[in-house]
Amino acid sequence: MASIQGTSPINIAISGLRAENRRMKVISTNIANSATTRGPDGKPYRRQMVQLSTDPDGGVTVRGVARDLSTPLQRVYEPGNPDAAEDGYVEMPNVQLPVEMISLTEASRSYQANVAVMKRYLEMVDLTVELLK
């Protein structure tokens, strides 16, 4: 069955599911590290974002994960913190929980939408297959 192979809507929906899965991983990393003052480079954690690209066949791929360097780090006055500077301020990650929660909802809704595409396409194919009955 050639139409089901190759770049069928199912394959495109799968690429969407994989991208949203990756996005959700990145969001959970951001949430888990919302107060991490030492990231992999020893500096405060910076929120990460997925970079998506369109495939030539219409699907989506995660080009990479980039760090948000433009949103400034938050400065919190916490003189007791061992990571505090001379003036008592600690640089906290630029993760904002409300923003992350919205992205999370977005990612899970997009995931659902891709599942819906897959289901609806299957129903369509089934209609044709049932003609053979």
């Binding site: 069955m1 069928s8 199912i10 394959n11 799968i14 299957l122 297959v129 053979l132 009955k133």
Partner: protein, 117 residues
């Protein structure tokens, strides 16, 4: 145009391939967390196309299970992606259903021809 017995052979070969693939997908899903596991694929369409091109009878076609070891793996050495497997499963069931429906259609046509008075 293929005649009826050849069509039955073709469809059964396809169904055998699809059920082998179903097993491979079930294996992959079961091993989604197994360290070092690599996903299995059953490229039976290519084998079927080759057999048809060389004029072989597809009834004797063997389905091979491949385990490519060149795909990138995660930190556990596993390359199974649950979304991909579910998608393959969905496509494969649809393919199997089509073969099955066509097979029953062929048989019904034969039956019809036999019952003509």
């Amino acid at each position: 145009m293929v005649n009826k017995p050849e069509m039955v052979d073709l469809l059964t070969a396809g169904m055998r391939g699809a059920s082998a693939r179903q097993r491979a997908i079930a294996d992959n899903i079961a091993n989604v967390e197994t360290p070092g596991y690599r996903r299995k694929t059953v490229p039976f369409e290519q084998a079927l196309a080759r057999a048809l091109a060389s004029g072989d009878v597809p009834a004797s076609l063997q389905t091979k299970v491949m385990m490519p070891d060149t795909t990138p793996v995660d930190d556990k050495g596993n390359n199974v992606d649950i979304e991909m497997e579910v998608g393959e499963l969905v496509k494969n069931s649809s393919t199997y259903k089509t073969y099955l429906r066509m097979l029953s259609k062929v048989y019904r046509q034969m039956e019809l021809a036999m019952t003509v008075q």
